[in-house]
């Protein structure tokens, strides 16, 4: 029939949404466009898309030369280890902690929950100096496990807060069924509860992964002078006091955001469901 599918209202609404989407896409356009320009193109026509002669070499340069030691390739590897390690530890510790807090109705568990909420509210930078001193005396500075512990502990209150909210809304029947079926506490947790927590686990993993992946400050302070540089620190090394290679910075930034983008695209639905809460059974 070919009828116009919009009403005047829906047309205006959709147009506004397209414009907003374009506005949000603009930084990505500059990111990609500049990352593909040569130094000359960058100075002569910084905003024009480099369609005719994209300079893919910037990516190779950024990958091998960024950072103080080992280039961005090494930094990428470090960031993956630290992010995966932190996320795995965080998910395990926070889900177990939250499970006990949510399911036990004692005063102790309520008190613990309040402690975690306080930890969630307090700015992490307040404890920076004492944490640094403790980590130094424990020999945890500039080590993978040191930074993983630090990130896990830092994000734990936030993750516990999210998990507790989700678990409290979860019917206890599944766990009770598992108990009557003969499962012990650990089997109940790992075989029944953890799979039920998948939506919120995706949310926690993605949010915390993003925090750790993008972290610049903690990596800079607690890993300075070591070979374990992370992507944001490596990116920072392109920025020089006298001269900044913006095309390499942008190529490096593109490399840094691609994995995050990929994970979000794959796990988008779970992520949203985790925030919305609920189990389909």
């Amino acid at each position: 029939m070919g009828a116009f599918r919009y009403t005047s209202r829906s047309f205006v609404r959709e147009l506004a949404m397209i414009l907003a989407a374009m506005l949000f896409s603009l930084p990505f356009y500059f990111l990609i466009a500049i990352s593909l320009k040569s130094d000359r193109q960058l100075t002569r026509e910084p905003l024009k898309p480099p369609l005719a002669d994209p300079n893919w070499g910037n990516y190779a340069d950024a990958w091998s030369n960024g950072g103080t030691t080992g280039g961005m390739g090494r930094a990428f590897f470090n960031t993956v280890i630290i992010t995966v390690g932190s996320v795995v530890c965080l998910v395990l510790v926070s889900s177990m902690t939250a499970y006990v807090i949510a399911r036990r109705t004692s005063k102790l568990s309520n008190g613990l929950y309040v402690l975690f909420v306080i930890g969630f509210i307090m700015p992490a930078t307040l404890g920076l100096v004492p944490v640094y001193v403790v980590m130094r005396s424990a020999g945890l500075l500039a080590t993978y496990h040191g930074i993983i512990i630090l990130h896990t502990a830092g994000i734990l209150p936030f993750a516990v807060f999210l998990y507790v909210g989700f678990i409290r809304a979860l019917p206890t029947e599944y766990e009770e069924a598992a108990q009557v079926d003969g499962a012990g506490m650990l089997r109940t947790f790992f075989r029944v509860v953890i799979p039920l927590l998948r939506p919120i686990t995706t949310t926690v993993a993605m949010l915390s992964g993003l925090i750790v992946w993008n972290d610049f400050f903690i990596a800079l302070i607690f890993m300075s002078g070591s070979s374990i540089g992370t992507l944001p620190v490596a990116l920072n090394s392109f920025v020089n006091e006298n001269y900044t290679q913006w095309n390499l910075v942008f190529a490096g930034a593109t490399i840094a955001i691609l994995p995050v983008l990929g994970v979000f695209v794959v796990a988008q639905r779970q992520f949203v469901r985790g925030l919305a809460g609920g189990i389909r059974g």
Binding site: T105, P171, E173, Y174, E176, A177, A178, Q179, V180, D181, G182, A183, G184, R187, R191, V192, P195, L196, R198, I279, R280, G281
Partner: protein, 380 residues
């Protein structure tokens, strides 16, 4: 032996709500016991205490002769079906049924054989690979039952397992559950608020209210000889008609209940028990199926009559359910309330009865039940 002993069982929840009071019951091996009562009567609490999902602070529960007060649920050797089935949503039907056996550490081959056996019994063979969300309500119910029977436990505990099904499926599943239970011969405790389920499925019924056991016995006993007014009105659909009326002595050995103009004789064998109520009020009960449009002669020589005005006639196909307003007092009515009481009667579908007509329904004295208006207990 799957006997279950409940002695002096009580439960007070944090906050002071008393859910159960002094429950005593012995459930024999292989018996199908139904706990029935309205919401909040304590039936589910009692079941959960048997399962070990609620702590026991008052009384004692034994399963198979062993006191299990301090025994964890997983070690009680009972299987439970929950109201919402509680099927693990991330597991396939096979894994759901296999889960209890995996917990017992059985070998893979044995698990496979037993799951398939249970699936065959319940007609789930074709569904083993599906996830619970891809099943209908009836299929989910069967999977939940499969998870329970695969372990061959000492007892099944079923918590309103049919309440989420539509009426037709519920009737079908009622029969299937009864058949499975009879086939396996496993002691079963079944909780429901539906008196039809209780009557049709149970070999014995325990009627509960406000945490107290009101009466226990076979369905025939509970229906035919209710121990108090609550049981009389709760069991049966519609429940027993109750009306408060004066009991008068019309002569030696002649006690009669006065309902409007009518004086209905009390059965001779009840005279001794009723004597102390002569001259005062008594609650009279009569089942709707005893009030019919059959000729008076069918109700016996001594029959009295209940005369009143028809208010509603519902055609149910096999009968007409007739509401009749009588000149009597409803039970526990305010002193100032109108002296009208509505009773249900079951007329034949061919009956020409219409609303606003006056009918005189014959009533056989032997069909009357009498209750103490003060305590609500049956007078015997």
């Amino acid at each position: 032996m799957g006997t279950i002993g409940i002695r002096g069982l009580g439960k007070v929840y944090p906050g002071g709500t008393r859910a159960l009071r002094d429950l005593d019951l012995e459930i024999a091996d292989g018996e199908f016991m139904v706990f029935v009562g309205p919401s909040g009567c304590g039936k589910t609490t009692a079941l959960r205490m048997i399962a070990g999902l609620e702590t026991i602070e008052e009384g004692e529960i034994s399963i198979g002769g062993t006191v299990v007060n301090r025994v964890e649920p997983r070690k009680r050797d009972v299987a439970m079906v929950f109201q919402n089935y509680a099927l693990y949503p991330h597991m396939s039907v096979y894994d759901n049924i296999a889960f209890p056996l995996q917990c017992e550490g059985r070998r893979k081959q044995e698990i496979k054989e037993r799951v398939e056996e249970a699936a065959r019994l319940l007609g789930l063979d074709e569904l083993l690979k599906r996830k619970p969300r891809a099943l209908s309500g009836g299929q989910r119910q069967r999977v939940a039952m499969g998870r329970a029977i695969v372990r061959k436990p000492q007892a099944f505990l079923l918590d309103e397992p049919l309440s989420n099904l539509d009426a037709k499926l519920r009737m079908q599943m009622r029969a299937e559950l009864s058949t499975v239970q009879r086939t396996l011969g496993v002691t079963t405790v079944y909780v429901t608020h539906d008196q039809v389920e209780a009557m049709t499925m149970g070999t014995r019924i325990a009627v509960m209210r406000d945490g107290l056991l009101q009466q226990e016995g076979t369905p025939e006993l509970v229906y035919g000889r209710p121990s108090n007014m609550f049981v009389a009105t709760f069991i049966g659909s519609p429940g027993m008609n109750l009306l408060s009326c004066p009991l008068v002595a019309d002569g030696p050995d002649d006690l009669r209940c006065v309902v409007g103009e009518e004086r209905i004789p009390a059965p001779r064998e009840m005279h001794r028990a009723l004597e102390r109520f002569a001259g005062s009020e008594v609650v009279v009960g009569v089942r709707p199926e005893k009030l019919t449009d059959a000729p008076r002669a069918a109700a016996g020589d001594a029959a009295g009559r209940l005369r009143g005005e028809v208010t509603v006639v519902e055609m149910l196909g096999h009968e007409r359910l007739v509401q009749v307003e009588l000149p009597g007092r409803p039970v526990a009515a305010d002193p100032g309330a109108a002296d009208k009481v509505t009773v249900y009667a079951r007329f034949s579908p061919a009956s020409p009865v219409k609303p606003l007509e006056t009918v005189a329904i014959p009533v056989n004295p032997a069909d009357l039940h009498f209750f103490d208006p003060e305590t609500g207990e049956a007078i015997r």
